[in-house]
């Protein structure tokens, strides 16, 4: 993609945003545009990278005379330093909810499918949900997954994949849902996984102190193998302000540990197989405790056990703990302090993070982050990585935010890695609201307080 085409793409997105601001009869148009840029030193000597990314999440609701909606999400990139371009089309799907056709809802187009066990896909797919009014409903889905990670040369794994499946689920179970189905994945013309799947979550009560239970399993019927299982619960207590979560998982993709599969395209989880020859067991837990009205302590720990060689067991630990302070109690300011540690056969990492975000002014935004990590690896390499970032934003008008930021990184290898960046974010919809409804829930944008949630 040339520079002219990149500029044309940006202009087209801006024109679409202007179009969306015009009133349309019965149709609500909405959008979320982000233009991000950064200037940084390249790892190629004497070169500078200057990538500029335009992310567009444009959509329309109220189509087809009802509640149908169209959702698109794309990315245009142009690196003006390296003369490199990229284009990603993440989503473009039409969703027709149950209200338009009684008992039937469907989504067609490029969409995100989360029905697969452990792995989610962006796929060119169709998904139909049939709920005629009884206690159970039926979901059918199928399509071709799409991947966006760069493959600079030939692919190691074939991207010729298909997924399809179905499940029967409850529709009237209050505070929960149970589903039972099958899921099949093909790669390079051969069946990779043929799973019977089940998943469910059920809240015993919305009352404090009573737990919410959840779990899932996947059994490979072809290979007579339990692929994965998860069982967990979470609960919260108003007094003393404690929330916690505990979970146990079992993971054994395919014929792990019994056969060596030479063909990478037949490996279910090739990255996992780089490290493990056995099943993996995991126990994890997390908690959050409100010390005062504005200060909360949080912690998270997970333990993993697997074999990297026959009878050579690896014990992996991942833990973090910290404090969250909301100085005004209103979420306009967030201070987050966190200590984290990883320990495994690969070495250990001890690090600390500090994050501060302020939106106390109507039009000024400020955020800063510092991450310092000391690591020792099994190859005797050790170093301290420092990453600092600071951003100052200005709300030009409701929905439009400009931000300038500076980032600095320091290690032995990259002693002076400085990056200057900017972002322009624009949220709009044709009803004239400051922000589209879903964006309120997806408040990654600095225009909305995060209420102290981790970013």
């Amino acid at each position: 993609m040339s520079t002219k085409r990149f500029i044309f793409g940006v202009a087209l997105a801006l024109w679409a945003s202007w179009l969306c601001s015009l009133p349309a009869r019965g149709v609500d148009l909405r959008g979320n545009l982000s233009l991000l840029g950064q200037v940084r030193e390249s790892d190629q000597p004497g070169k500078t990278e200057a990538p500029m990314d335009l992310y567009g999440n444009l959509g329309a609701t109220g189509l087809l005379g009802g509640g149908a909606s169209l959702d698109t999400y794309f990315r245009l990139e142009r690196d003006f330093g390296l003369d490199h371009t990229a284009t990603d089309f993440y989503a473009g799907a039409l969703h027709v909810p149950a209200g338009t056709i009684p008992g039937l809802s469907f989504t067609v187009g490029r969409q995100f499918l989360s029905e697969g066990p452990r792995v989610a896909f962006v796929a060119d797919a169709a998904k139909v949900n049939i709920e005629p009014g009884g206690p159970v409903g039926l979901t059918l889905f199928g399509g071709q997954p799409r991947y966006f990670e760069p493959t600079y040369s030939s692919e190691n794994l074939s991207q010729d994949e298909q997924v399809f499946g179905a499940n029967v689920h409850t529709t009237r179970l209050r505070n929960g849902r149970l589903s039972l189905g099958f899921f099949e994945q093909w790669r390079d013309g051969r069946a990779l996984r043929q799973l019977v799947t089940g998943a469910g979550s059920y809240g015993l009560s919305r009352l404090p102190g009573l737990p919410n239970l959840y779990g899932s399993f996947a059994v490979d019927t072809h290979r007579q193998n339990i692929d994965q299982g998860t069982l967990g619960m979470d609960a919260f207590f108003l007094k003393p302000g404690l929330s916690f979560n505990v979970e146990g998982s079992y993971y054994k993709p395919q014929d792990q540990g019994e056969f060596v599969i030479a063909d990478k395209n037949r490996r279910e989880d090739p990255i996992f197989e780089l490290f493990s020859i056995s099943a993996l067991m995991q126990l994890r837990g997390g908690l959050r405790y409100n010390l005062t009205r504005t200060v909360a302590a949080f912690g998270d720990y997970s333990y993993q056990r697997y074999e990297r060689q026959r009878d050579k067991v690896v014990h992996g630990h991942v833990a973090s703990a910290g404090l969250l302070w909301l100085p005004g109690g209103d979420g306009l300011e967030v201070v987050r302090l966190e200590y984290y540690v990883f320990e495994s056969a690969g070495g250990n990492v001890n690090g600390g993070k500090f994050y501060y975000e302020s939106q106390v002014y109507n039009r000024i935004l400020f955020r800063t982050k510092l991450d310092v990590a000391y690591y020792e690896k099994e190859n005797n390499e050790h170093d301290t990585g420092i990453n600092g970032m600071m951003g100052l934003g200005f709300i030009v008008c409701p929905g439009l935010v400009w931000e300038l930021d500076f980032e600095g990184n320091h290690t032995k290898r990259f002693s002076e890695d400085y990056r200057f960046g900017f972002s322009i974010r624009y949220n709009f919809d044709s009803r004239g609201r400051k922000r589209p409804p879903a964006a309120e829930a997806d408040s990654h944008s600095p225009t909305q307080p995060t209420s102290g949630r981790p970013l």
Partner: protein, 215 residues
């Protein structure tokens, strides 16, 4: 003054500023923001009911006005505007009447959309309690069991942002330092990488020398 001192000084200044926020300067551009009142309420859904759209559906279920509204409130006031306001409040049946058909229960009507965004604009007060602790790490089971529940508040872009979007400018899932010690975490929990990455992503850098500062 070295770099570390600069960074620490800025952080200390930020903390002090946050502790003294009521004394911060204000002028035309520096007006202090008031916490959003709407954040404490879901009242934005109250006036969304469309009688014309619902009439035929409720008619087939033999529902009458009395099934949702109460008409026994006696309003005595000479102020016509106040009477109108009080009357509308008395007639408002509350969220239970809407949720009777729209939320998963024995009384749910199949054709009734379940998405929270059908009526609610501000979703922050509706955030489920299970989203609080370790939600980013354990949400996969809930998303597999009931993806419609996710879509009732979130757009697909939220899932794509973490699972599929590739971004070299800003960090989302992993901090910048992560590239130096990702091997340690990969060995601590090797089942995590495959949730978003494919083997090609590892091979690109490790085998073919395409390691870049920006990636």
């Amino acid at each position: 003054m070295n770099r570390a001192t600069c960074v620490i000084a800025i952080l200390v200044a930020a903390v002090i500023a946050s502790a003294c926020r009521q004394y911060l300067p204000s002028n035309r551009y520096l007006q202090l923001r008031q916490p959003s009142r709407a954040a404490r309420s879901t009242a934005d859904a109250a006036r969304k009911f469309n009688h014309d759209k619902h009439g035929p559906i409720l008619g087939t279920a033999d529902l009458t006005c009395m099934d949702c509204h109460r008409f026994d409130a006696l309003i005595e006031t000479g102020n016509e505007e106040m009477a109108r306001e009080l009357s509308s409040r008395a007639l408002y049946p509350g969220s239970a009447a809407c949720h009777f058909c729209h939320v998963a229960s024995d009384t749910r009507v199949a054709a009734a959309p379940q998405a929270c965004t059908t009526c609610h604009e501000n979703l922050e007060p509706l955030r489920p309690v299970d989203h609080d602790v370790a939600w980013l790490k354990v949400h996969s089971t809930a998303a597999q069991a009931n993806p419609e529940r996710c879509q009732s508040c979130h757009q697909q872009a939220l899932c794509i942002d973490c699972h599929s979007r590739r971004d070299t400018i800003q960090t989302r899932m992993h901090d910048r330092n992560f590239r130096f010690f990702h091997s340690v975490q990969a060995r601590a929990n090797p089942m995590q990488c495959g949730s978003c990455h494919r083997l090609d992503f590892c091979i690109n850098c490790h085998k073919q020398g395409n390691v870049s500062i920006g990636q």
